[in-house]
């Protein structure tokens, strides 16, 4: 074996995906050839580094945009019912899309708190609610209490994706609150805070729906419990 016959085999070699006799021949060549030995080490390092890449979490403004697009979608009238019934699906979709590698590359994402470009999402504050932030905060506390008790029902990957998403939202909330402290009259900072809080409520509800689906394997039951919490 020489360098030109050895090198095309080195990916299979580092993947440990070749016949024993081929492997032995490559091993023989590598013992004698420093250049191919370094190449094999390089390919193994690239494979290891690529396999260690963390999933990228979409920034908060992307979720806001999707929510806004869904609201204006041709089937918008049915979207709420669909979204509501399929909240567990939304959480699975988030994991699936992340795992599909959409976010692995092209990582120069905008900061999570880039709320200036985030479209408005539909308000979910009950009519007559005088303190929306208190309303959201209460809803979040209630949801966190319920979801944290049962989160171990989720598989590690799903829980990781959801928690990473919540971390991004928490950062957006913190940034919005900081902006409001320095500019208490800023409407955009206020709206940004509400949007992030709404997003957190929605993600927690999705999480709860998923937990429930996991527990019961029952889509209708998940939707019913969600509606009770939402009331």
């Amino acid at each position: 074996m020489n360098c030109s016959t050895c090198q095309p085999l080195l990916s299979a070699y580092v993947d440990d995906a070749m016949r024993a006799d081929q492997r032995a021949a490559v091993d023989d060549h590598l013992r004698a050839c420093a250049a191919c030995r370094v190449l094999a080490q390089d390919l193994a390092s690239i494979r290891l580094a690529a396999g260690s890449l963390e999933p990228l979490i979409p920034p908060a403004h992307v979720w806001h945009r999707i929510a806004a697009a869904a609201e204006t979608h041709p089937r918008a009238s049915g979207f709420r019912a669909w979204w509501f019934g399929w909240r567990p699906l939304a959480a699975v979709a988030m994991t699936a899309v992340l795992a599909a590698g959409l976010w692995r590359v092209g990582t120069l994402l905008q900061p999570a708190g880039d709320s200036a470009s985030a479209p408005r999402v539909a308000a979910v504050i009950p009519a007559g609610e005088s303190d929306p932030e208190a309303h959201y905060t209460l809803a979040i506390a209630r949801l966190e209490e319920v979801t944290s008790a049962d989160q171990d029902l989720l598989d590690q990957e799903t829980a990781g994706a959801i928690n990473a998403g919540l971390t991004v939202i928490d950062e957006a909330i913190a940034e919005s609150r900081a902006a409001l402290r320095s500019e208490p009259q800023s409407e955009s900072a206020q709206e940004s805070l509400f949007a992030a809080l709404r997003r957190k409520v929605a993600v927690l509800q999705e999480t709860l729906g998923l937990i429930n689906e996991m527990r019961k394997g029952n889509q209708d039951g998940a939707a019913r419990i969600l509606s009770e919490i939402n009331r």
Partner: protein
Amino acid sequence: MVASAETAEDLLQEVFLTAHRKVSNFRGDSSLGTWLYRMAVNHCLDYLRGRQNKMARTTDSIDEEGMVEPVAIAPLVASAISRLDLERAIERLPDGCRTAFVLHDVEGFQHHEIATMLGISEGTSKSQVHKARMKLRAILKGGVSAPRRALSAQAGRA
């Protein structure tokens, strides 16, 4: 997989809206997660196929990737490859081999699974992953100048 944050955001939105439209077609013959996963991957692939001409050109160029220079410089160490460097290098890969590389080395799919997803042979999947790794090595070891050297060398041969 698509090498652009903006494109990925657009595709994510399309996946959600397509799931909304097509959820009534879900027959339950696979898990919901698998159905969505496949939809997301297919969206990426459709997008990439739209750039097929460009892909064919760039893939041709790496088909002629020459042997490595016989210089025993220090090997790459996985822990010393920064995430940012690696992701930027992946962005620079031609579409065809980037897709196979991301699915295999980043996502952990087997070659036979990638072959089915991409409609290619298992051997092509293997060779695309190998080409991607070779290309990444050139980028990571040579900085910005290495791939240009490789391309100009190919242009010289053509």
